[in-house]
């Protein structure tokens, strides 16, 4: 078990390292490498001016030295200089320096991250059990009115683009009818109650929308499982039908459900652009979009790196949990 754990963690770390190399290569050695200079020199930019700026920022140094600085920044932090004069200090882990915002990309991500984390994990509290429970109910009563309602509603909601659903939801339930409180971001440390109320609407719509997908997955899986031989065996023991469904059949759904949810959460953590835009909270998604609009290369690369890290970590957690959920997984 410990060997397995160590190997999985080592693997995750090496994937992260490879991602760092890839992100650096993509953004700082490719055709995009002059983006920062163009951004700083404004209109009527000449090649000579770009060259001067790059020289000042140290962006014309050999790639290996630049990469060394980049990695050093991630590990211990670094000073940012322009033409030898001090611009600012980028604390470790320094994922880049935004010359436009005069700020470390890490700081910007740190500000946006609590919003994204709250959106994803808060709604997960709704969609993880929601998808499971509705999916089981629907699957075990296949063909019944209940099943038809659950499948019908989840099909209708799930097949409309999310931004439309979220927009309509926001417009009617929050603005027009005041059924749910308005959404805003108040830091948890500042006022937990306002934080909760501010996110409530987001959690409900994001959670419900995501459930529609998981409901259909769990339903299909349940229908399959309920006709499995071992479910028939369970039934032939004389235990209650409730126990057959919620203990025996559901047990088999855990492993695949966990994989699906884990990987989805990993992906979602790189930012929920539509949610943040529609409900007016600033998370990683809006940060990435704004940086893209400004061609703020160091920040874009930082959000890519953070997104990749979330996926790697989610994968790692899923793999480790799998060992607990599915005893047939071999630890080697």
């Amino acid at each position: 078990m410990i060997v397995y754990l160590a190997r999985r963690i080592l693997l995750a770390i090496s994937v992260l390292l490879a991602t760092i190399v890839l992100v650096f290569g993509l953004f700082f050695t490719g055709p995009a490498k002059d983006a920062v200079a163009y951004q700083l020199c404004g209109t009527h930019c000449t090649n000579a001016r770009v060259k001067t700026i790059n020289q000042g920022l140290g962006l014309n140094e050999p790639v290996v030295k630049q990469f060394g600085d980049y990695v050093k920044g991630i590990v211990v932090g670094r000073d940012i200089t322009n033409n030898g004069s001090f611009v600012g200090h980028c604390d470790a882990p320094c994922l880049g320096w935004s010359y436009i915002q005069q700020e470390s990309a890490t700081t910007m991500i740190k500000q946006a991250l609590p919003v994204t984390l709250a959106i994803v994990f808060g709604s997960a509290v709704i969609f993880i059990p929601g998808g499971l429970i509705l999916g089981v109910l629907s699957g075990r009563t296949r063909g019944s009115p209940l099943d038809r309602i659950i499948v019908g509603v989840s099909q209708v909601i799930g097949n409309v683009p999310y931004y439309a659903v979220a927009l309509i939801f926001n417009l009617y339930l929050i603005f027009d009818w005041h059924i749910l409180p308005g959404t805003q971001y108040v830091p948890l440390t500042q006022n937990a109650g306002k934080w909760f109320i501010g996110f409530l609407g987001i959690w409900i719509i994001y959670g419900l929308f995501n459930s529609t997908y998981y409901v259909r997955f769990v339903r299909a899986f349940m229908i399959n499982t309920l006709s499995a031989d071992y479910v028939r065996t369970a039934r032939s023991k004389g235990i209650s039908e409730r126990r057959v469904v919620w203990v025996h059949a559901l047990r088999a759904t855990f492993a695949p459900y966990l994989t699906l949810i884990g990987l989805d959460i990993g992906t979602s953590l790189s930012g929920a652009i539509f949610t943040e835009q529609i409900f007016g909270v600033q998370g990683l998604g809006l940060l990435a979009i704004r940086s893209l609009g400004q061609s703020d290369l160091p920040v874009i690369s930082a959000t890519v790196l953070v997104g990749a890290a979330f996926i790697v970590v989610a994968n790692l957690i899923v793999d480790l949990l799998y060992v607990v959920v599915d005893p047939t997984v071999k630890l080697s």
Partner: protein
């Protein structure tokens, strides 16, 4: 096993204790019908099965795939979804009528009065639950005891069915068991509540031949110890010779022949049974001896042919005067002059036809 069966015509069932004709009747099935409504129409999976089974006796139900052997037995356990099946006739299990009984009744009798062992032990045990608790769960469902007591009972049962190191094995998962050990665990699960009737649905089909014999021996031993009645569903006539007291042959959802195992295997009275025996390979026959498969295929259960279901494949229907085989479904009736033998056939003297024409080809 196979050689005694098809080779000599005198396949005395091995190692069976003498029958007690006064043992109490455990199960009476009468004119059982099971239908499944589908989009294509009504599937007549079972269209008339009758038999009786006494304590300590073993009945083998034999037939091709789709002959209704499993479906009729699962009806005893109430394992057909009531919304997707129609069941009629009568199943009297230990004095209780089960056709039309509510799920609560089935929950009570499952595992205690009737238990079932399934074909593939690989898929019939929950892959993600430990073996011991799977057995203990059945005991807990019917006894007001602590989990520890039930767990101990599970270990005892594993020990009883010949699983070595039962203490350790109980804490393992099914994937850590071999096929034979898994089937032993299934049998332990089946017997944990000491049921009066054990239904075994092709329990050896998925197993190695050497393991098959072990499992059959085990079932014979356990029956002597527990005194259960056993229904053995199989298409393997060697299994029948090994374990059965009585044989019920099924075709297209109907019982077509019934009698003691010895009589049915040695002197079958129904052309379908003759066909079954002719298609069994013999170890004593010369190399190159041809097998005689039954020509054609079983009829569609969606629309059974008029008259005898076996007629389209039967080589003897021209011996019946008129067109009776095509027009009239034969009754399941006693063979003239042979009490205890039942057959569903219009032939006047099947004994003579078998002796003169069929038996010689079985040599």
């Amino acid at each position: 096993m196979t050689s005694t069966l098809a080779g000599s015509g005198s396949p005395a069932p091995a190692r069976r204790p003498p029958l007690d004709p006064n043992a109490p009747v455990i199960l009476t099935v009468e004119d059982l019908k099971v239908q499944f409504p589908t989009e294509d129409g009504l599937v007549n999976a079972v269209s008339g099965v009758s038999y009786e089974l006494r304590a300590g006796q073993t009945l083998a139900i034999v037939g091709e795939s789709g002959s209704g052997k499993s479906v009729s037995s699962m009806a005893i356990m109430g394992l057909h979804d009531p919304k997707r099946s129609r069941i009629s006739g009568s199943i009297l299990l230990d004095g209780q009528e089960l056709v039309g009984a509510p799920q609560k009744t089935f929950q009570r009798i499952r595992s205690t009065t009737a238990a079932m062992i399934f074909q593939d032990p690989q898929s019939s045990l929950h892959p993600l639950k430990k073996v011991g608790p799977q057995i203990a769960e059945a005991y807990l469902a019917h006894h007001k005891v602590s989990k520890q007591v039930a767990a101990k009972r599970a270990v005892e049962m594993l020990d009883r069915v010949g699983v070595p190191n039962p203490d350790r094995r109980a804490k393992q998962y099914p994937f850590e068991f071999s096929g034979g050990m898994r089937q032993r665990a299934m049998i332990a699960l089946g017997l944990v509540n000491d049921p009066k009737l054990l239904i075994a649905d092709e329990p050896t089909t998925a197993l190695d031949v050497t393991v098959q014999a072990q499992i059959l021996d085990l079932m014979n031993d356990l029956q002597r110890e527990f005194g259960s009645a056993i229904i053995m569903i199989t298409h393997d006539l060697a299994v029948v010779a090994e374990i059965a007291d009585f044989v019920l042959v099924m075709y297209a959802g109907r019982s077509v022949e019934h009698g003691t195992a010895q009589e049915v295997l040695a002197n079958p009275r129904n052309p379908y049974t003759w066909g079954l025996l002719s298609s069994v390979p013999s170890l004593t026959a010369d190399v190159g001896t041809e097998l005689h498969p039954i020509p054609g295929n079983p009829p569609s259960l969606l629309n059974l042919p008029e008259g005898c279901s076996f007629r389209p494949r039967c080589g003897f229907s021209d011996r019946v005067p008129g067109d009776r085989c095509a027009a009239e479904l034969p009754e399941f009736r006693q063979v003239p002059g042979e009490p205890g033998r039942m057959t569903r056939c219009h032939l006047e003297d099947p004994a003579a036809i078998f002796a003169d024409e069929v038996a010689p080809t079985l040599e």
